[in-house]
């Protein structure tokens, strides 16, 4: 069992709050089962900025801004904001892009995967299996000596560029200049009031920075340490609270068919989430965690976030994103290219000769 200290309870509270607000944001206006979905939100925001022209997916999601700013606030208050980076910058950028590819093929990030599960969507079980498999491969890669390099302390201010980008996004949300696009139909037209979304994002970003909560890290730590891992209890709290809130709000619909934002191409769902799990372990966090780290001044995570934004544009423009009709050929090829990318990354960044049994 874990140590029931202050940090443990912080993790549990973070997980529970994420589950609660994840469901409530859908009740307050976000798409069903997508109260919080980093990948969907990134695709929406990319569309609003003109990175793709799907008219149904264009809206700057204030939740993303809140996550980053909440992390900045928390890290600044507690002296944890540190400009750092310089580790495998371009691979991280492309990792961010392929994180979104994997999520887009599944239709959801790891947080949305659990929100779908807690809403009774059985199609998400395959995604969960894929995520666990991917995390396992990630752990094996780390054990085999894969290492992207240590993040170095950077000069003052370098960790502020990505937060500055999100500040610009906030200005665009508030000012609404003509060049920013806002969907009038489609899922991007469904959103909670901007201030509520921003506030929820701020609160969650603050908590997540303090607790270091991350969905893929929870699974990783559980596979490594079992029930002693505090993070898995946070995920457990997320699951319980989100399920209860789904049932209480009437959003619980148990079944395999007719679920919002889901498809039945099980193999590709599994592969998409496996890609996300594997990449997340290698780069040190799921898409949500990357936003939080970017808010702490980590410019390596910032590069992942930029890659995610570009990925959000690419998956829509190139028709990679899956729909309720399933995964098309572009999506299938994109996931396979992503798998090839992570394999190549693993090969190139494996420190050889330092691990027992490795090639010299």
């Amino acid at each position: 069992m874990p140590v029931f200290d202050r940090h443990f309870w912080l993790i549990v509270v973070s997980g529970a709050t994420l589950g609660l607000l994840g469901v409530l944001l859908a009740v307050w206006g976000n798409p069903d089962n997508s109260g919080i979905c980093v990948s969907c939100f990134v695709e929406n925001s990319a569309g609003a900025l003109g990175l793709h022209d799907n008219p149904r997916m264009q809206y700057i999601r204030p939740e993303l801004i809140g996550f980053v700013f909440g992390a900045i606030l928390s890290s600044r208050l507690l002296g944890e904001f540190r400009s750092r980076g310089g580790s495998a910058v371009m691979p991280r950028f492309f990792s961010g892009l392929f994180l979104i590819v994997g999520c887009a093929v599944f239709i959801g990030c790891p947080i949305k995967l659990f929100l779908r599960l807690t809403a009774g969507d059985l199609t998400a079980l395959v995604g969960l299996a894929g995520l666990i498999i991917g995390v396992w491969f990630g752990i094996r890669s780390l054990a085999a000596g894969v290492h992207l390099g240590r993040s170095e302390k950077q000069r003052d201010g370098s960790g502020l560029w990505v937060p500055a980008l999100f500040l610009l996004l906030l200005v665009l949300v508030l000012v609404k200049p003509a060049f920013v696009r806002f969907s009038v139909t489609g899922s991007a037209a469904l959103h909670a009031p901007a201030l509520i979304s921003l506030a929820a994002g701020l609160f969650l970003g603050f908590l997540a920075q303090r607790s270091r909560f991350c969905v893929t890290a929870s699974i990783r730590d559980f596979l490594l340490m079992g029930r002693r891992a505090p993070l898995i209890w946070g995920l457990f709290a997320f699951f319980i609270v989100a399920t209860a809130t789904s049932v209480a709000s009437g959003g619980f619909n148990f079944g395999y068919y007719g679920q919002p934002g889901s498809h039945h191409d099980v193999f590709w769902s599994l592969l998409g989430m496996a890609l996300v799990g594997w990449l997340s372990v290698i780069i040190g966090g799921c898409p949500f965690r990357q936003l939080i780290k970017a808010g702490e001044g980590d410019s390596d995570a910032g590069m992942v976030v930029l890659g995610m934004l570009v990925g959000g544009g690419v998956v829509q423009s190139w028709e990679i994103a899956a729909t309720a009709a399933g995964v098309n050929s572009f999506g299938k090829v994109a996931v396979l290219v992503g798998i090839a990318f992570v394999i190549i990354l693993t090969l190139f960044y494996r420190e050889r000769g330092t691990v027992p049994g490795s090639a010299t």
Partner: protein, 179 residues
Amino acid sequence: MIRDLFDKFLLLGLVAVAVAIALVLGGFFGQDDALITQKRNPAVERAMQEKARSAFLLETYQPVEHLMLSDRHAEALLKLQEFDKTFPGEPHTMILRGSILVTQGVLSEGLAQYAAAVKINGDYVDEKSSLHRRDEINQLVESAVPAIRKSLQVASTPTLEKSLRDAYYLQSRLAGGCE
């Protein structure tokens, strides 16, 4: 951070740039065409295009809807064939054809037409769109799914399986999600 004269000079330059941006946005250097939108406002344009498209479709296909209301389904289908030539791939043709086929009891083909239309244009299941046919599609799915499942228990055919997939697809789109 400010160590010497050069740093002060840089800081002054930064302040000057910030002031210049504020002045440009405030119109001090004259009302720039970009600020008063030389092009038409894209958001307004998109809303107008959306409304114009809906109005165009509803007006253009009105003869077909009139024939459908008069139960002259065969003539309506012939009219839709003409529209296939004029507007190939237009989802509105598909959705009206689907409606007629379902009325005539050709469920499989009807479902296929509805699904094809919604795949191309999700507005048919979007409450915010003037083109939406949520109630009609919802009723169709609610009656079709149990009927097809019952038929599949008797004999499984590729046509029935496809129809069930189409029905589930429509069910999923009605439920919502990120598309």
